[in-house]
């Protein structure tokens, strides 16, 4: 039977079944204390209401750098039929998602969602637009946008 667990002054290693923890390569480890665990340190939601929303939600703490944040939105709008998942990039603390663009003839309407991830919270700004002058109704977003911030070893 292979050695599976190694605990020494360097830390803790656990190998996959049949692999010897003393000799195997890193890709055959189930756990290594050399690596951090990425988890969610914060889970919340911002309510989208009507034709525009501008809300800030605090993390309740200050990160050293803006964390990766997942944004999720389930459809509850006339034009939207799929669930949206968005995640910010480390290089883009401010980023924009155009969630839907609906065209009927010369008429259109669309939603713009702007996300700002700072070291202490997130801001979601949502607006819907349409060429109202041609008599095409605007479309509102309603419901919750789930916000989850990640952190190593939360």
């Amino acid at each position: 039977m292979a050695n599976r667990v190694l605990l020494d002054v360097n830390g803790l290693l656990v190998s996959k079944p049949t692999f010897d923890v003393l000799t195997t390569t890193e890709n055959n480890l189930l756990f290594s204390s050399d690596y951090h665990k990425l988890g969610f340190s914060f889970k919340g939601a911002i309510q989208l209401t009507g034709y525009s929303t501008n809300e800030y939600l605090s993390f309740g703490k200050t990160f050293t750098t803006p964390p990766y944040v997942f944004f999720m939105y389930s459809p509850s709008s006339l034009d939207i039929t799929t669930e949206m998942w968005v995640i910010n990039q480390a290089s883009a603390q401010n980023f924009r998602s155009m969630y839907s663009f609906y065209v009927a003839g010369s008429n259109y309407r669309y939603h713009l969602l702007d996300f700002t991830v700072s070291v202490d919270g997130v801001t979601v700004v949502y607006n819907s637009y349409t060429n109202m002058s041609s008599g095409f109704p605007n479309a509102a977003l309603t419901g919750w946008m789930t916000v989850m911030a990640t952190e190593y070893n939360p």
């Binding site: 309510q47 939600l57 605090s58 309740g60």
Partner: protein
Amino acid sequence: MIVFYKENGHIYATVFDPLPKGYKEAMEKDKSINFIEVTSDMPLEIDGGTQYVDVVEKVLNNRPTIDLQDEYNINVGESLSINIPESSILIFHDSKFMTETLVECSDGLVELDGEMPDTYEITIQKWPYIDKTIRINVT
């Protein structure tokens, strides 16, 4: 679970359990933030569209409804009287020109005259009531 609300009780955000360590204490330090702590197994069942926070009692409540029919029928020359919450905003929708006219109504009784045959839509807004849109058919 924490529910954030505006000064009028409008719910705009929540933070799910388990709360991050020290989260509630951090929010309590910021006096500009209004929140209550509630117990809910289904966090997303909290809905700012149908619920609000009673800012005096600090509890979650269902938004009341305006007790009106969805549709009314009157003849030209007749009037329709409806009872609405005092200080409501009435929004008259003009479907032909895609315009809206807003009127603040300090009285709780509104009398609508049927002058021209058409179908009219009016939305009544008064916080914390849920918006109510009625249709009036004038024939």
